[in-house]
Amino acid sequence: MKLRDLTELAARNLREAVLRNSLTTLGIAVGVASLVAMLSLGVGLQELASTRLSRSGLFDAVFVTTQSNMRAFGGPPRALPDRVATQPARKLDDDARKQLGEVKNVVEVYPEVRFPTEVQFEGESYRTTVAGIPASARGDGAFDEMKGAFFSGPEANEAILQIEFARDLSKQTDSLIGKELLLRYAEKEPLFADEASENAAGKSAARHSVPNDSAAKDSAADDAPASGGFSLVPREMKLRIIGVVETEPATGFGGFGRGRLLIPLQIAQNLRIAQPTDMREMLRGNTGKPTYETLTVRVNSPKAVQVVEDTIKGMGFGTFSILDATKNMVLFFTVFDSLLLIFGSLALTVASLGIVNTLVMAILERRREIGILKALGAADRDVRRLFFVEAGAMGLLGGVLGVAMGWLIGRALTIGTNAYLKRQELPAIDISSIHWWMVALAIGVSFFVSLAAGMYPASRAARLNPVEALRYE
């Protein structure tokens, strides 16, 4: 019998026992829906996690510090044994920065400039943390959904506010864009050799300025700290608010907490803010050149992170990247997805038993009909294929319905979750995600599971003795 005739006969048979076949199909649909919902939840959560992490700019970055800093601050605990090399600790200064910039696959090297300070806005003072943001951070994705715009240039006197800080300034965060705020900070002003000597002799200035004879000779050459000592001078800078962003992209370790007021990195460096390393380096006599607590090395591809990290370690620096954490995350989600798949598959297995039951019942009911078909010339193969087509049609229809139901369940979960998040004043997220491959997989699995379930009834129907079947009442 030709496929078209088989399909027409199967469709007719399915229509004749519409209630039972509909319930069986619904059973399959529920099974597929649970499979799709579980899978979409797993994939959705995985995507959510990776999107959040990738937006943070962590995946293509290697954070470099001196090995001594790694020991002092602890650093990432698991990374420490690997990172501590036998070579002597190297200083993280401009030479090192330049050398790091020459490593293959490295596109940018920049220091982390982050400092706590005070901001004045519309007559009120606010304490906050300022973070310098490199121009390359524009592509991280953290700024994709920002309100307003990214910095117009590397030295623009502009500020982007983190949403929570923006809410501190005004409930209508959108209205802040275009307004000005006043940044108050303490600038590190270098002391020249003679001034340093005076300070060394005096008592009053001892707390704010520190001499260093060894570095004094360098002072005449440039604007670098002439003596190694410095004064702290209060300064102010007007910044125009140009945007509001949900979160700060990761540009470094974030040692002083999250940046709530973001400014161009170049501007932040020009401010010459006193950094925690300054005092230590000055006491160690390393004041000739500025040193950095950490440097962030931006790599051209996340795939190159491991190679770059190994190279930098070989240069005698301590490194940390999110790679290890990512590996663990992938492992976690693989196990998580597998568990969800198992639970989803259980429902589909139960549904497939429904198909077996329905078709076995159909054989009993249609015993005489099978006998008639055989008497009229139907081969065993025709009868088998007829039952197969019926099982396959239920599977296909159940699969399509199941995908639709699974999608609805996913949407319902997302809506419910977002309603809760909204009450908690948290941003909306999409916790389920359905891809085309998932739709194809679910319908395919449903179809083939149904065919497998129809195998036994179909072969039983095909083996029926026509003489006995014709006698059946």
Partner: protein
């Protein structure tokens, strides 16, 4: 009319539409072995109308099922146009049922959910006849049994006689050479039964179609068939002894 004459048993089957050679069919019933058909040899000429007469349990329906290829013999050979059904695969037997023989049953065996037209078209689907050709074939078959006006009716909307005529149309639609009828008038009143017998006779005459009809109605068999083959306890009843069969 001849009675219980057996055709040529050996050699080629020229002239015979169907013949059997010492065919037997046994069933195991518990520990007992039932000989439903026991060493039966018959030969039916092409275009002949033969009645298989016998009381209930005589083995006539079993023999008809064997001729139809619905059942396989335990021993012996069954030739339909020189092809031995006993040696056929199940696929070949299906082809035999589809193309060589048409069957009519006492209980009509129409599919209740299908219309008359769909019931008659069903063998064409199974025989993979071209879709474009089917409507004409269906119309030809239903016109032969005078049911052209009832094409869209379901079996439940037809009388017993009409249902049997519809079953006849279904049996004829694939243009078989042999028509096998199992008690075709068994469920009909005498007038309707006679009408069906007239129809069978007409088909036999006009289409030169070989007909083997199972019946226990000796009078009807004598009136319409060319020849009567009588069975008792699975065996052929010898000529002369058949008069004893009621």
């Amino acid at each position: 009319m001849r009675n219980n004459s057996v055709g040529e048993m050996t050699g080629n089957s020229n002239g015979f539409a169907i013949r059997t050679e010492r065919v037997s069919r046994q069933y195991a019933m518990g520990e007992a072995l039932v000989h439903a058909v026991d060493d039966v040899s018959i030969a039916v000429q092409a275009g002949e109308f033969v009645a298989l007469l016998g009381s209930s349990g005589s083995g006539k329906s079993t023999l008809l099922n064997l001729l139809a290829g619905l059942d396989r013999p335990s021993s012996g050979a069954i030739y339909a146009h020189d092809h031995n059904l006993a040696e056929m695969t199940s696929q070949e037997l299906a082809h035999h049922r589809s193309h060589t023989v048409g069957m009519v049953f006492q209980a009509f065996n129409l599919l209740p959910r299908m219309t008359l037209e769909e019931n008659v078209e069903l063998p064409l689907r199974l025989a993979e006849v071209d879709r474009a050709e089917r409507p004409a074939r269906v119309r030809e078959a239903v016109e032969r049994v005078s049911l052209a006006a009832r094409l869209t009716h379901r079996p439940s909307e037809l009388s017993g006689g009409e249902q049997q005529r519809a079953a006849l149309a279904r049996a004829l639609v694939n243009r078989p050479t042999i028509l096998l009828a199992d008690e075709p008038t068994g469920n009909l009143d005498s007038v309707t039964g006679d009408a069906i017998m007239h129809l069978l006779q007409e088909i036999n005459r006009n289409l030169r179609m070989t007909i083997v009809m199972v019946t226990h109605d000796k009078a009807r068999a004598a009136r319409y068939a060319h020849r009567i083959i009588t069975m008792r306890d699975g065996k052929l009843v010898p000529e002369g002894a058949s008069d004893e069969i009621a």
